[in-house]
């Protein structure tokens, strides 16, 4: 489902080149729940951004559902994201000028779904915000905003769900609820979930754990068999 081949990402920092990801190989099959952990600056978010096609690698290739996305044009990447990928961000990233319901509706409208209203309502209800669907993000708590973001991520029935520190901006109790919701929906909809977190507690719930350090994969409890299977 997700495949990275010798992916390296460097960025310029003043006159120097900084390596964020260093020669990473990775394969994640469909339906797997993978947690990526590591210290700050280890390259976790960069990994997610490359998988989502939000950024391109400096070298190496990224494949998503058998499609090489690392050299795709921006509009093609947008189409791919709209069709295959749902993303949950640490900072929620709801559109402030839209209500909770409209935020969920937008990906469906972008994908030209014929009658998205009912689906959007169902998703809002599924995350427990049916009563607050007409509220704007600024009128919702952090936990509520993240629930809307999760509903939005599932809007187009994606086969891949990417979550970048989804509980990072929430307190422990709210974080736990959001994580449970994410995992429940993931199981129900059978999506491939790539979760980036620095909380070992959450990572333990995953099918597979990958540890990054200084841009390299230093631990992958199922790396070798999956990779061999793929190749």
């Amino acid at each position: 489902m997700i495949r990275l081949e010798r992916v390296t990402k460097t960025v310029a920092s003043g006159a120097e080149q900084l390596t964020i990801l260093d020669n990473v190989d990775l394969f994640i099959p469909a339906g797997q729940f993978v947690a990526v952990t590591g210290a700050s600056g280890s390259g976790k978010s960069t990994l997610i951004s490359l998988v989502a096609g939000l950024d391109s690698p400096t070298s190496g290739e990224v494949y998503l559902a058998q499609q090489r996305i690392s050299r795709m044009r921006e509009d093609a990447l947008a189409d791919l994201r709209g069709a295959l990928v749902g993303i949950v961000f640490q900072a929620f990233h709801l559109i402030p000028s839209l209500t909770a319901y409209e935020n969920v509706l937008v990906p469906m409208e972008l994908a030209d779904q014929p009658d998205p209203s009912a689906d959007a309502r169902a998703l809002i209800d599924a995350v427990g915000l049916g009563e607050r669907s007409h509220h704007y993000p600024s009128q919702l708590s952090g936990g509520e905003q993240q629930r809307v973001a999760i509903a939005r991520a599932f809007a187009n029935r994606p086969s891949i769900l990417l979550a970048d520190e989804p509980t990072g901006n929430l307190d422990t109790a709210n974080g736990a609820k959001i994580f449970d919701l994410l995992v429940r929906l993931n199981r129900e909809r059978k999506t491939t979930l790539l979760l980036v977190t620095h909380e070992q507690e959450l990572a333990r719930a995953a099918d597979r754990r990958i540890v990054l350090s200084a841009g390299r994969v230093i631990a992958d409890d199922a790396a070798a068999p999956w990779h061999e299977a793929a190749t």
């Binding site: 951004s49 939000l54 189409d79 709209g82 961000f89 709801l94 000028s97 937008v106 409208e109 030209d112």
Partner: protein, 860 residues
């Protein structure tokens, strides 16, 4: 499509307050453009409809002399040939009217019109109190007079007045009289019976009478009839003027071309200013929506669809703004129509032209889309990675061909619109060229400023690391460094802001320069007039006693000039003058005078004016209008017949006389001036002027005593007429100022938009500075430094450019416009631009400084 429409609607709903500026720019631009176009169309339509009324006939023949039997024969023959359906005569002269029974009332100079029973051939004689006009009202010693005359003479309907010595009974008050199109004289009108005016001796020697013969001609025959009359006049060397109502249209068109040129410029300026305002607002809006755009892209939004949503937003707003603009246009047009109808002999309909409305809305939407397009294209540069990395810069393409194409399209469209608005592509090319040059200079200046400041600022920062310490000297330095630093820090808006402010200043100051130049054209320094009383028919033996009486009764600056009549019977050209004119231009009678020195309102254009000493060898100075009519050069010889004597007089100078108060100046004016010494032996009377006492009773006493002592003399008090002229000039100035005010309003909107562009950036900086301990006062002072530098530089460049733009349009434009340098306007324009920018910046910063820093830091 569903997404595009839904997203556009949601953005309007969420941001309508922020987009109000956009909305206002469109509404104001469309309102002004539609009203100007509608007004021009309706005005010219009224002119075409009423031009026959303005002439009171289809064809009018004028002469400075009484009709001859020969002329009567010509008119009869041609009338029969062309099937003329009606004809009548009229005569016009200026004379003095007095109240018959009120010796205290001051005499008033009036325009007396002698009319026959057939008058008017076209149009309607409109009288006060819904009195229906018939010739019976003026027959048998009756008179119809302007309402203003009733007030000034303190008389009413039924009272008797003395007009030029003839007693008349007032039988009605004139509201509108046909046939006054070519006469915007401030003097009150008096209409009386033609025969009675002639019989009263008002057309005798020394009188300045204009005789007119009016005809109604079958439709379409006017030009042919006029041509036939011209032909006969030419064959028989008869002098006079012949014109159809078409001439009225042309004459008024030419007379109003300066105003029309000014209106076109206003339309252009508002159009482009509105566009710049839209570009500013859109740019700010896009900057505010960068995160939203990144989110949409991360959710699967293609560039085309995201841009489409914002284009739809611009379209909806511009359409709504344009429709509001029509409401604004209706209000403006109604006001203008009332204003104009009250001041011109025309009924101007206040309706909006449907074509102008459609064009206005189309132009409003087009301008909005075109100017919004370059900032909207920046959406393409927003990378979806921004949702993960806030520090990721918005990408920039090395060469963005699409953006370049959009800018070229914008320039071409503005040029096309400018040409359409100005009615000439030559003006449009000049206009767009000048604006483009200014834009390049502004861009260059912005880049240079940033470069220079960065270089100057760097060592200061290194040498003073402890910025922000509490000592007064240090704080000033901190404020200065922060203010200047804001102009060149990464992510600053210096170039864009300077570009916008500079162009805004250019348009506002350019329109102001045109406004002042156009107003000056209609302006006259009434305070500098040497006389406010005029004397006519002073006999030679009365000269000294009249002068003495005037001085005794408080008049000053008494000047009397001799006036003789001379018939021009021939013209001998200088060998170097190849010009020729039709024979009928020679043969007329002229009033001639002599004087030793030029008047203060006269300038020599060619040749030399004689020394003050008298000479028996005659020579003349000819006014430039007459010189052009006869195509004279210095050295030509005019052959006059004066009191039976032939006099060959060389032209030694051609002079220009400032005649902006024609109706008053004509009382004592002569186109041909002789050198003193050569006219002494000829019969002559004296005319002249004096400045009367300012005090009302003393003024009335002077007039009444002079008239009692010298009964044959005509003394005209022009004070009220000068006031009337002043009022009319004020009217024109007020109208022009209202239009200039529109441009100013647009300019201020743009400044607000330009400053608002930088607000987002300052929000964050202000929050950081506040958390570090900066007080609101410090933030405001930083703003003053930042915007002071920006406003002054942009204002100075815009102001300097306005000189070039106005000069180029005046000098090389399709319609030559008056132009003069007014340095104080340019200096004031630059300073005011800086002041407005500072004020707007400070007001915006108040809001920024008042917000809690935590909320801002959290949001960003």
């Amino acid at each position: 499509m569903r997404f595009i429409v839904a997203m556009a609607w949601r953005e309007v709903r969420a941001s309508w307050r922020r987009l109000m500026l956009f909305f206002l720019c469109i509404a104001l631009g469309v309102g002004a453009t539609v009203s100007l176009r509608s007004f021009t169309r309706v005005f010219w339509g009224s002119l075409a409809r009423d031009s026959r009324m303005l002439l009171s006939a289809d064809v009018r023949i004028e002469s400075g002399e009484a009709w001859t039997a020969e002329q009567g024969d010509i008119f009869a023959r041609q009338s029969a040939a062309y099937g003329v359906s009606g004809q009548t005569r009229l005569l016009e002269t200026q004379t003095v009217a007095r109240a018959a029974n009120d010796p205290e009332a001051r005499p008033v100079l009036v325009e007396l019109k002698g009319i026959e029973a057939g008058f008017p051939l076209r149009g309607e004689f409109r009288l006060a109190g819904r009195l229906r006009y018939s010739h019976d009202l003026v027959a048998g010693g009756g008179a119809l007079v302007s309402g203003s005359l009733l007030e000034r003479l303190h008389v009413g309907i039924g009272d008797r007045i003395i007009v030029g010595g003839a007693p008349l009974t007032v039988r009605g008050a004139i509201e509108r009289m046909p046939g006054n199109a070519l006469n915007f004289s401030p003097l009150p009108r008096v209409a009386a019976d033609y025969q009675e005016v002639e019989a009263a001796g008002l057309t005798g020697f020394g009188s300045r009478v204009r005789y007119s013969w009016l005809f109604n001609v079958p439709d379409g025959q006017e030009r042919a009839f006029t041509q036939a009359l011209w032909s006969e006049y030419g064959d028989r060397r008869i002098r006079g003027s012949i014109g159809s109502f078409h001439y009225i249209e042309n004459w008024l068109s030419q007379s109003l071309s300066n105003i029309d040129g000014f209106l076109s410029l206003i339309g252009l300026a508002i159009l482009v200013l509105g566009g710049i305002g839209i570009a500013s607002v859109t740019r700010v809006f896009v900057q505010q929506r960068v995160r939203t755009v990144a989110i949409l892209k991360s959710l699967g939004g293609r560039n085309r669809r995201v841009i489409g949503a914002y284009v739809a937003l611009v379209f909806a707003l511009s359409l709504a703004g344009s429709l509001l603009g029509l409401v604004v246009a209706k209000a403006i047009t109604t006001g203008f129509a009332g204003y104009t109808s009250a001041r011109l002999p025309l009924d101007v309909d206040p309706r909006l032209s449907p074509l102008a409305c459609v064009q206005g809305v189309a132009v409003g939407v087009l301008v909005a889309l075109l100017f919004a397009l370059p900032p909207l294209l920046e959406i393409r540069d927003v990378k979806p990675i921004l949702v993960l990395r806030q520090d990721a810069a918005v990408g920039r393409r090395r060469i963005d061909w699409l953006k370049i194409a959009a800018q070229v399209l914008l320039a071409a469209a503005v040029a096309a619109l400018a040409g359409w608005q100005a009615g000439t592509y030559r003006d449009a090319a000049l206009f767009v060229g000048a604006v483009a040059a200014t834009a390049i200079v502004l861009n260059g200046a912005g880049a240079t400023l940033m470069g220079v400041l960065a270089r100057v600022h760097r060592p200061a920062s290194r040498s003073s690391p402890q910025v922000g310490r509490a000592s007064g000297g240090r704080r000033r330095s901190f404020v200065l460094r922060q203010g200047i630093g804001s102009l060149h820090r990464p992510g600053n808006q210096t170039r864009v802001t300077m570009f916008t402010i500079g162009l805004g200043a250019l348009f506002v100051i350019a329109v102001r320069l045109f406004q002042v130049n156009v107003q000056h054209e209609y302006m006259l320094d009434l305070g500098a007039l040497s006389a406010d009383m005029f004397l006519i028919d002073v006999q030679p033996d009365q000269r000294a006693p009249v002068e003495a009486a005037l001085q005794r009764l408080g008049a000053t600056a008494v000047t009397l000039l001799p006036l003789s009549r001379a018939r021009l019977v021939g013209l001998r050209r200088d060998p170097l003058n190849p010009n020729r004119v039709p024979a009928n231009r020679i043969g007329g009678e002229f009033r001639v005078t002599h004087k030793p020195e030029l008047g203060s309102n006269e300038t020599i254009l060619k040749g030399e004016f004689w020394p003050p000493s008298p000479s028996s060898r005659p020579e003349v100075s000819v006014e430039t209008g007459l010189a052009e009519w006869l195509k004279l050069h210095v050295g030509d010889v005019l052959v006059f017949e004066m009191a039976g004597r032939r006099l060959d007089v060389p032209v030694t100078s051609i002079r220009q006389e400032d005649r902006r108060v024609r109706s008053l100046a004509s009382l004592v004016r002569s186109d041909i001036v002789f050198r003193p010494g050569s006219l002494d032996a000829l019969p002559h009377t004296y005319v002249g002027g004096a400045r009367g006492p300012a005090d009302g009773p003393a003024r009335a006493r002077l007039q009444n005593e002079v008239l009692a002592e010298f009964p044959g003399l005509t003394l005209v008090d022009a004070l009220d007429d000068i006031e009337e002229v002043r009022r009319r000039i004020d009217d024109v100035s007020a109208g022009v100022s209202v239009l200039g005010g529109f441009v100013l309003a647009c300019g201020i909107l743009i400044l607000v938009g330009a400053v608002a562009m930088t607000k987002m950036q300052r929000l964050y900086e202000a929050a950081v500075l506040k958390t570090l301990g900066a007080k609101r006062r410090v933030l405001l002072r930083i703003t003053v430094v930042e915007y002071g530098v920006l406003g002054l530089l942009a204002g100075a460049i815009g102001s300097a450019a306005s000189i070039g733009v106005t000069w180029a349009l005046s000098r090389f434009g399709n319609r030559p416009l008056p132009w003069a340098l007014h340095p104080w306007i340019n200096v004031a324009g630059a300073v005011l631009t800086a002041a407005v920018v500072i004020v707007v910046g400070v007001l915006a910063t108040f809001d920024v400084a008042a917000r809690k820093p935590l909320a801002i830091l959290r949001d960003t």
